[in-house]
């Protein structure tokens, strides 16, 4: 069974999973997403939850629903770049918030990050 974090709404985790697959190239623009029922069975979640995730993807312009044939990943320009930027922003924010919560100053955060990029030799 696919692992979800039960503390976060499941539909959001499905939305983020599909976005990650688009950015990583596992799903290409124009690809058809699995039907709601197929996806629900393979993830072992409620079909309504998958439906809600697909609606959210459509609302954000990541997918288009073509009547009667299913949901397809949008072929609009800049989709992948936009998704990458969005995910990178979320990671940066989480990192900065986490470090500040530990009491690091902005300067210390930057130098810790640089050290990590240089191979994690010093902190």
């Amino acid at each position: 069974m696919y692992e979800f974090d039960p503390n976060i709404p499941i539909y959001l985790q499905i939305v983020n999973g599909i976005k990650r697959e688009i950015v990583s190239g596992a799903r290409q623009p124009g690809d058809r997403l699995p039907s709601v029922r197929e996806q629900a069975e393979s993830l072992a979640v409620n079909p309504n939850t998958v439906q809600r995730a697909y609606q959210e993807l459509e609302r954000e312009g990541v997918c288009d629903t073509r009547r009667g044939t299913g949901s397809y990943i949008s072929e609009r320009d800049g989709l992948i770049t936009a998704l990458r930027d969005e995910m990178a922003r979320a990671l940066r924010r989480a990192y900065a918030e986490g470090m500040r919560a530990l009491g690091f100053t902005d300067e210390e955060i930057l130098s810790a990050l640089r050290a990590e990029l240089d191979g994690g030799r010093a902190t």
Partner: protein, 233 residues
């Protein structure tokens, strides 16, 4: 979407002892409701009344618009929390038994589910493990073309692998025009398939709502919310 189950102030007393103290809820088609509560909270009593196996002491309910009574029995498929099959029966006997009782029984679906559950059609109930008996009972309940499925503790006493198979079967059986109620205290294993949750304590609903909205609002799993609700006793 239409309303499949509606209950209004449902009450039940066992002589002087109240088991249900006015349960009102509404369940729409295409939804799966998790009915959660500790042992003795009234889950089974509630399901038995809706299944038409017990009479309420007060209040009313309707299934797909039909007022509760003998006519709603054919709309409701009930999975009891214990085995109801005779030990001498094989899987095929049990399927024949159900097909005789219920006009909406789908024999082809039953045989299909039997193989998905990896059950041998000629094995007798007597020689089956607890998990196998549970899977057979579930197969029988799910092979009816009912509007409302009531599953009383479908995961009790079942190992994790069989649990996963049962969860998958619940999703496979899901249709847009029926609804499913699952009673459980093993919240962790099934919360991902619930749309709605209702927590019941001493015969009353103490918390109910949309599962995803509860997660969002509290930043917690349904399992954790369950523990928060019932943990201090």
């Amino acid at each position: 979407m239409s309303v499949i189950l509606e209950t209004h102030d449902l009450r039940k007393n066992y002589f002087a002892k109240p088991a249900l103290r006015g349960v009102s809820l509404s369940l729409e088609s295409g939804r799966i409701l998790g009915l959660m509560g500790p042992n003795g909270s009234g889950k089974t009593t509630f399901l038995k009344i809706v299944a038409g196996l017990q009479k309420a002491s007060g209040g009313e309910f309707s299934v797909a618009g039909t007022p509760g009574g003998h006519r709603t029995k054919e709309l409701v498929s009930f999975l009891p929390d214990r085995n109801i099959l005779f030990p001498w029966m094989t899987c095929l006997d049990a399927i024949g038994f159900y097909a005789d009782f219920f006009g909406d029984f789908d024999r082809a679906k039953a045989l299909d589910m039997l193989s998905f559950m990896k059950l041998d059609p000629s094995e007798r109930v007597k020689t089956m493990s607890k998990g196998m008996v549970e899977k057979l009972n579930l197969t029988l309940s799910f092979s009816r073309r009912a509007r409302l499925f009531l599953l009383d503790e479908p995961l009790g006493g079942v190992d994790p692998v069989a649990r996963e198979r049962i969860v998958t079967t619940i999703i496979k059986t899901w249709t847009e025009d029926s609804a499913i109620v699952v009673s459980t205290h093993l919240v962790n294993d099934v919360e991902r398939i619930f749309n709605d949750v209702a927590m019941i304590d001493e015969g009353e609903i103490v918390l109910s709502g949309d599962a995803e909205e509860l997660r969002q609002a509290r930043g917690k799993s349904i399992d954790q919310i369950y523990l928060d609700t019932f943990g201090d006793r």
